[in-house]
């Protein structure tokens, strides 16, 4: 992300003019960023008709990362497109981009302990909260009971929806450690699987619930 900043700043033509020209100026978010980067003046930064950039700190899976985002950047794209830690890149591609508009649950992560669609969450909104992705559930090689149960019951085929289901299932069990069959269905109703792994997902959640002691 930082590489892109230089390029954006280094050009004489401001993005603002371009975007105004095509009528997308309103895309700029109304969320106030912590630090504004790339704004020519503070006033301009507050005009709200420009895509502003901000440096924020995100706490992901117990680690703090400094990332530079645009006001419109979603949490999902921060995770998936890689975080430049000033050396090694961190790619958290477990959460998937499937619909990118809150219809499928493939991008589900936990923010502040709650399951959210990360494609519908701005990176700015997640600042200061604990973010847990599917990569943060296992303890080293030791899988989380939900993950273990998914493998045991073959609750995955192509596996593309699986990270979203795993996080959604974990969140469900966090709230309701021993859900009934109907409660499992309702709890996971925000996720879609095209391969049709649902029956084995239901079994997996029941097994995980027993393991967790629900």
């Amino acid at each position: 992300m930082s590489k892109e900043k230089e390029q954006t700043q280094g050009t004489p033509i401001s993005r603002r003019n371009f975007l105004k020209g095509v009528g997308t100026g309103a895309v700029a978010a109304s969320v106030a960023p912590t630090v504004l980067v790339g704004a020519e003046t503070a006033a301009e930064a507050q005009m709200g008709d420009k895509i502003t950039r901000a440096e924020i700190k995100l706490n992901i899976n117990g680690k703090t990362y400094e990332v530079e985002v645009e006001s419109r950047t979603t949490l999902l794209s921060v995770l998936r497109d890689g975080i430049d830690t000033g050396g090694e890149r961190v790619d958290l591609t477990g959460a998937k981009s499937i619909c990118d508009r809150g219809e499928c649950g493939g991008c589900t992560v936990q923010v502040g302990g709650k399951a959210v669609y990360s494609c519908m969450t701005l990176a700015l909104e997640a600042e200061g909260k604990e973010i847990t992705t599917v990569e943060g559930l296992a303890n080293g090689e030791q899988l989380h009971p939900v993950q273990e149960a998914f493998v045991q019951h073959d609750a995955l085929m192509c596996g593309f929806c699986t990270p979203g289901f795993v996080v959604a299932a974990k969140s469900l069990l966090d709230q309701n450690p021993s859900p009934s069959h109907e409660e499992i269905k309702e709890g996971l109703a925000g996720n879609i699987c095209r391969c049709g792994t649902y029956p084995f997902i239901f079994e997996a959640v029941k097994t995980a619930s027993r393991k967790i002691g629900g």
Partner: protein, 706 residues
């Protein structure tokens, strides 16, 4: 001659083995094409036609190219050419971030002269409709006519007749990982990570397009998020991304948007058929006259099956395709079969009712002209009827009382799935004891990786997790077919099996003298190699392979047709509840019995049957591409309005992987065939009014009831 041996001797084959890639997938570590992030990688995006039919008059990329962060822009159509459906490719760009790519797309200026379009089949057939395909006269293909027996004589013999029109809509694949690729050039060498069902086919297409020898193109598909028949070859987007990468001098990722996936990623053609059929008083299906068509959008094919499964001695069918201004059809899970089966099984019920016969008895009488399949099918009827409680069905359809009415119905299917030659594979045993199995197939979610491990482990007396399986990469130069037609296992398993046997024999030959045993007495089991003639002669696996020293055993295999079988039969039963006030159909239970030949991994086979049934439920009750005649656009190109089954729609599913042989068969497709027919018949049994049009949505139910 190689064989799979007897069931009682199998340690692993036919048992429930968890997927090798399970932990990777459940932890998010599995890398799909969509997840590949290469150093310096750019993001590609495609500008698509917003209209259904137009001549492009100009395209100006300059403003987009000038946007900071944009590294390459290319045309995908020349000005002067026609676009013929919404979503057709116009231009593509690559930029440093996805968001900049989106902005850049909006900066491409283009102009077009709109032309008349047609997006519904009936209007496309009418005189004066805009011409869509250049290679047809009008918009309807030359019908294909098939005839057998004497249809007039057949109808003369018939005691009852049914005339009906059945319709099924266009269904889209909805792969959760959209079509797409990451392309990277190193000089004249191209590497493409592809979400594909055919790494070797994709390599060939790319090599041809860029005029490169095949060995300069590498295609990798380690994991892929669903294809269902729509992902063979690189497609327009695959060629575009490789061009962008070359132009930008950097790797580029280009995945279709969800909307584009619906518009251009393929679909199952629609079907409309008018049928007249007759049966004799004693219950013989005697005559069948069908005239029908479907649309594959601008694509040429829209075939469907019929007559289907059931034997009818006299028939005439006339089938054609109708072009409309919409994205082209592609193969979709058992192409042609689910639509044909829905109509056929509805018709069988209608005929049975006219005869006053039990629909199951009527099917039994007319079942399947193939003797092997018929034997299996008759057994499946018995098993399925027991499982669902066939006796519970309403003997008078719609006779249940109350607001919510229950009903039971059934449907059938058949499929090939026997595989074929052309796969190369190697099984390698290292002196460390490590075992590798490598072949150029790909795991599209079916579990072939695990099947390969099971077969090798069974042969070598090891555990599946001991085997390293490498698939989804052209680099080792071991080609295999595309994963379509449920052909993967039948093509791959025999080669793996014979390669494993060859590797084992080599190892036995090597170590027999060292442990003073005869090679032919040696056996591999339980992680040891021992002599059957003298059980004291026994060494652990690693000790045995240690004798190899600097040597490595690496053996290929042969496709052996005696190890696989095709032509499978499937039967399904559905129990539904129809709310007569809201029109909502709730499926309570599905019993799916799928002839599987020899089951290799029962766990993943059941997963496949479950998944196929669920896709069939979507076809029966939910899914339909809706085109808007006013604008020529698809109205529901997203996951909210195009409804696929979610958790709330999942009934109890009893998936029975039915062992019928000691030969392998692929079954990824067949269990999706019978579902819609079974549900439609169950709905009829519940409410006593027949709905001949899919999907069976509440509005149709309420209309039928009123």
């Amino acid at each position: 001659m190689a064989s799979w041996g007897e069931a009682r001797d199998s340690r692993l084959i036919g048992k429930r083995v968890t997927r090798l890639s399970g932990a990777e997938k459940a932890t998010g570590r599995a890398k799909y094409t969509f997840d590949i992030n290469r150093p310096g990688m750019l993001y590609g995006r495609i500008l698509r036609s917003p209209v259904a039919h137009a001549t492009i008059t100009s395209i100006d990329l300059s403003e987009a190219e000038a946007l900071p962060g944009v590294k390459a822009a290319i045309l995908l159509i020349e000005p002067g050419k026609r676009v013929r459906y919404e979503g057709q490719e116009i231009a593509a760009i690559a930029a440093t971030t996805n968001d900049i790519a989106k902005d850049a797309i909006r900066l491409i200026r283009f102009d077009y002269d709109e032309l008349d379009y047609v997006v519904d089949v009936e209007s496309a057939k009418a005189d004066g409709a805009p011409q869509i395909r250049d290679d047809w006269m009008g918009n309807q293909s030359e019908p294909r006519v098939d005839e057998r027996g004497d249809i007039e004589a057949g109808f003369a013999e018939a005691a009852v007749e049914v005339e009906a029109t059945y319709h099924a809509p266009v269904q889209t694949h909805v792969c959760l990982e959209t079509h797409g690729n990451v392309a990277e050039w190193d000089g004249d060498n191209l590497t493409v990570w592809a979400s594909t069902q055919a790494v070797f086919g994709t390599r060939q297409n790319l090599a041809q397009h860029f005029e490169l020898p095949e060995n300069q193109v590498r295609v990798i598909s380690e994991h892929m998020g669903g294809g269902f028949g729509s992902k063979f070859g690189p497609g327009v987007e695959g060629i575009a991304v490789a061009k962008l990468a070359r132009k930008a001098g950097a790797p580029v990722k280009l995945m279709l948007t969800r909307k584009a996936e619906h518009l251009v990623g393929g679909n199952r053609p629609s079907m409309t058929q008018q049928v007249r059929a007759g049966a004799t008083q004693d219950g013989r299906f005697i005559a069948y006259d069908l005239s029908g068509y479907g649309t594959g959008g601008i694509g040429a094919g829209a075939g469907f099956t019929g007559p289907y499964v059931y034997h009818v001695p006299n028939y005439r069918t006339e089938k054609s395709a109708v072009a409309i201004n919409a994205g082209s059809a592609r193969a979709m899970r058992a192409p042609g079969h689910p639509q044909g089966a829905f109509a056929m099984d509805s018709l069988m019920d209608e005929l049975a009712e006219k005869l006053g016969m039990d629909p199951l008895a009527f099917r039994r009488m007319n079942s399947d002209s193939d003797p092997r399949r018929n034997k299996i099918r008759q057994a499946e009827y018995t098993l399925g009827a027991q499982e669902i409680g066939w006796h519970r069905r309403n003997s008078v359809p719609g006779s249940g009382t109350g607001i919510k009415k229950r009903g039971i119905g059934m449907g059938c299917g058949l499929w090939g799935g026997g595989g074929g030659p052309g796969t190369q594979a190697r099984v390698t045993i290292h002196s460390s004891g490590a075992v590798e199995a490598v072949t150029g197939t790909q795991d599209i979610g079916t579990g072939i990786r695990t099947v390969i491990a099971i077969i090798v482990a069974e042969e070598l007396g090891l555990k599946p997790a001991d085997i390293t399986v490498k698939v989804g990469d052209t680099e080792p130069g071991l080609p295999s077919r595309g994963s379509g037609g449920s052909q993967t296992i039948g093509s791959v398993a025999p080669v793996i099996k014979t390669a494993a046997i060859a590797a084992k024999r080599k190892l036995f030959g090597h170590i027999a003298p060292l442990i003073e045993a005869e090679p032919m007495d040696l056996r591999a089991a339980g992680g040891r190699i021992y002599s059957a003639a003298d059980l004291r002669l026994s060494v652990p696996w690693k000790e045995a392979t240690g004798y190899l020293g600097m040597e490595t055993i690496s053996e290929g295999g042969e496709w052996d047709e005696n190890l696989r079988v095709g032509d499978t039969a499937g039967v399904q039963f559905a129990d539904v509840e129809v709310d007569t006030e809201t029109g909502l159909v709730k499926v309570i239970k599905v019993v799916a019995i799928q002839d599987c030949g020899l089951v290799v991994n029962r766990l993943t086979t059941e997963s496949q049957i479950n998944g196929a049934v669920i896709m069939g439920l979507g076809y029966a009750l939910l899914e339909e591409r809706i085109m808007d005649g006013q604008t020529g656009k698809m109205l529901n190109a997203n996951l909210e309005d195009y409804k696929v089954p979610g958790t709330m729609e999942i009934p109890e599913i009893v998936s029975i992987a039915y062992d019928t042989d000691r030969k392998i068969t692929g079954i990824g497709e067949p269990p999706t065939i019978p579902t819609a027919g079974a549900v439609a018949n169950a709905v009829y049994n519940a409410i006593g009014v027949r709905i001949r049009e899919l999907p069976i949505t509440p509005d149709k139910v309420l209309n039928a009831l009123s």
